[in-house]
């Protein structure tokens, strides 16, 4: 079993829809959770990161962590064609600089105009 599971998609939704991207994990020690966005032929770009459980909002993006279920989500409201990319979740336990990141395989998202 992989430490982090992420549905690879592809996921296609119409413009303006709410998108839900998800990851599940098995390591209960994970406390820091990140979402990266990767456009074609580009490197991963950090979108958001959260510590422990709860929600964090940044514009159209909301990151949600449920540690009891070992489940994290990224919601995109009012989705735009420019949101079309691969979204990677990543996580670690003891903090930045203390251990390596564990990544999901990424979900490829297409927003249809």
């Amino acid at each position: 079993q992989k430490e982090v599971e992420q549905d690879p998609g592809p996921l296609s939704v119409p413009e303006g829809a709410i998108v839900s991207l998800n990851c599940t994990y098995s390591n209960s020690a994970f406390q820091y959770f990140m979402w990266y966005r990767q456009y074609s032929r580009k490197g991963p770009e950090l979108l958001m990161y959260t510590y422990s459980s709860g929600n964090k909002e940044d514009g159209r993006f909301t990151a949600q962590v449920d540690k009891s279920s070992k489940y994290i989500s990224l919601f995109i409201r009012d989705s735009q064609p420019s949101d079309s990319a691969t979204y990677l979740c990543a996580m670690l336990g003891r903090g930045f600089g203390n251990e390596k990141l564990t990544f999901g395989t990424g979900t490829r998202l297409t927003i249809i105009p």
Partner: protein
């Protein structure tokens, strides 16, 4: 966040040759990392580039195949040696500004082996 420049952006190499990839950051950073990204797979950490000392390699990666240099706090190189078709992949540099910050990535080097 730091601006990360990675060169070359892509290359096509012959079997048995080597390719050196450069990663330059516009500010001093604490940590620099090298990853491999293969289609359908999660990012795999190759090694942590340590300034002034030997890199720390992850399981399955060895210095003879992936020699790494980090002469200062803004620059690192990864060499992929004795290239074979299995080395065709995207190689990514990432940096961490300080111990309480997440990693940021360069745009990667797309390597194909003939």
């Amino acid at each position: 966040s730091a601006v990360i420049s990675q060169k070359p952006s892509r290359d096509i190499c012959q079997r048995g040759t080597s390719l050196t990839i450069q990663c330059q950051v516009d500010s001093q950073v604490t940590m620099m990392f090298w990853y491999r990204q293969q289609p359908g797979q999660s990012l795999t950490l190759i090694a942590t580039a340590n300034q002034g000392s030997e890199a720390t390699y992850e399981s399955g990666f060895v210095i003879d195949k992936f020699p790494i240099s980090r002469p200062n706090l803004t620059f690192s190189t990864l060499t992929v040696s004795n290239l074979s078709p299995e080395d065709s992949s995207i190689y990514l540099c990432s940096v961490q500004g300080s111990n309480n910050q997440p990693q940021h990535f360069g745009d990667g080097t797309r390597l194909s082996i003939l």
